[in-house]
Point group: C2
Chain length 299, copies 2
């Protein structure tokens, strides 16, 4: 099955998440908020894969959830979009293009883009609160959903990983150090997505752990695939500037393992992810297909 | 009653909040998180007034709350401390001193300070979730506590206000524009503090509105007092650099109304704040004393 088929396959979920993002923005980004609101809207309207939200929705269904969890999907996408807005800033990766469009700071300026990013974490928290409440989850689960998302967004997750990443530029990191960065920077939010979906779907603790492993392994596989695409794909294919890792002298999986070695490692992680769910008896065809998409995607 | 007496008066609440911050950091800022965790800890350990937390705790008690809401107090202090870390950055106010100590970026560098600030919003959300859960609040109230805090921290509150403030530098703003900035930048979080306290304490909607007015008026009064102190106090008294507003050509209340006029406006706002609570029959002596302290404080 090609990546295009997979995209079509998940079109319903992507549309539901787009709708939930629209609802969220209409509710909380009133036009009188000015430039910050416009910049946040711009960053959320890009043609993203919505991979994290789709993972959340699939974990939700696989764990037995039958409601509409799209607002929770929107919450993880807001955190993800925030990380992209800040990653693209001149003080970080200094990128002009993202998802085939100009980056937020190119359109709105650095100050507005910075502020927009900072306003997106509280917006994500609000989305998580409202999404958990809309599903009528048990009280303890509602709090846990917000907690898992926010922990993944903080010092022990994405932010910590971004800083490690920045500090590592120009250094030769070994595989263990690189994996540590990526498990935080990319892995934490992807793991949080599957965990939140499973939590909201009413998963047992054992099942939660299985979805946690699935998400964590896929998160790392996703980042390895990203590293590979940075050297093998064109800027047009990626919708963002290719070849940035070499330019910034970043340690990457292809640099350490070669392109084939990196692909093999990503493939092994996908197997690991699927095995965790299989052992718990919840590996659906869509969860398996999405796991493969993570490493076989064209951009 | 002098400001020193007031500080002594609220020593018990300040100690409780310090304890709650310690618990929160021990739980979520493990040393292996490295520099970001150290920087967050440094920013939270300063000798702050803890005004927002104290307001929250007093509103909580005045609304009938009888539990330990100190972790909710810690949550608002984390958001406040985050705003100070980012305000002090070279790209913002570029300040070296805060609360009589070096600012976070002077000690840990700009990159770590920036990341630390960004990690503090999710940390505050986690504190709010855990604080609301520890009090055993009704399900809808737990979510609302987190929502109020995060909305005050986002585009419609603090972040929006910071951006307006930055955009306003060097422009001559009129009183209405200045008030709009300060109601967002400073007022939103102070209003959120009193609202969250009242919410957690079980206030009716009418009482919530009264506490909202109290907090919003005090928030604006606080900022006017800040503007006045910037021109009348010394760097030693403030524990941060005095005279920055003139240096940055900021529109301020003393510049628009004169020092006496600004003081009169702040005093009127304090009266407005107290009247809102009095009309609801919940103006305690400590709420009145704290309202006065907001404009009479020495730093």
């Amino acid at each position: 099955m090609s990546a295009t088929d997979v995209a079509a396959d998940f079109a319903t979920d992507r549309a539901a998440v787009a709708g939930a993002l629209e609802t969220l923005m209409a509710r909380h980004l009133r036009p009188e908020l000015g430039a910050v609101a416009h910049a946040i809207r711009y960053s959320l309207e890009g043609e993203g894969k919505r991979l994290r939200a789709i993972l959340l929705l699939m974990a939700y269904r696989a764990a037995g959830g039958r409601g509409d969890a799209s607002l929770l999907g929107a919450a993880v996408e807001v955190v993800h979009a925030y990380s992209l807005v800040h990653d693209d800033l001149p003080c970080m990766d200094d990128d002009d293009m993202r998802r085939g469009r100009q980056t937020v700071h190119r359109v709105y300026g650095v100050e507005v883009a910075t502020a927009a990013g900072m306003a997106m974490v509280p917006l994500a928290a609000v989305a998580a609160v409202e999404g958990a409440s809309a599903l009528g989850l048990p009280e303890a689960t509602q709090g846990e959903v917000v907690r898992v998302l926010m922990r993944a967004s903080g010092a022990g997750g994405m932010i910590g990983g971004q800083l490690l990443d920045l500090e590592g530029e120009g250094l030769s990191l070994d595989l263990a150090a690189l994996e540590r960065i990526h498990r935080c920077k990319t892995g934490a939010l992807i793991e949080a997505s599957t965990r939140i979906g499973a939590l909201a779907g009413g998963a047992s603790n054992a099942l939660l752990d299985a979805f946690g492993t699935y998400g964590a392994s896929l998160g790392l596989a996703f980042q390895i695939a990203d590293d590979v695409l940075d050297v093998t794909a064109t800027t047009d294919q990626l919708g963002k500037t290719a070849g940035k890792d070499v330019q910034f002298r970043k340690s990457t999986y292809p640099a350490l393992l070669g392109v084939d070695g990196a692909r093999a490692r990503a493939g092994a992680l996908v197997q690991e992810a699927c095995r965790a769910l299989e052992a718990s008896g919840v590996l659906t065809p869509e969860l398996e297909r999405l796991a493969r998409f993570v490493v076989e995607r064209p951009s």
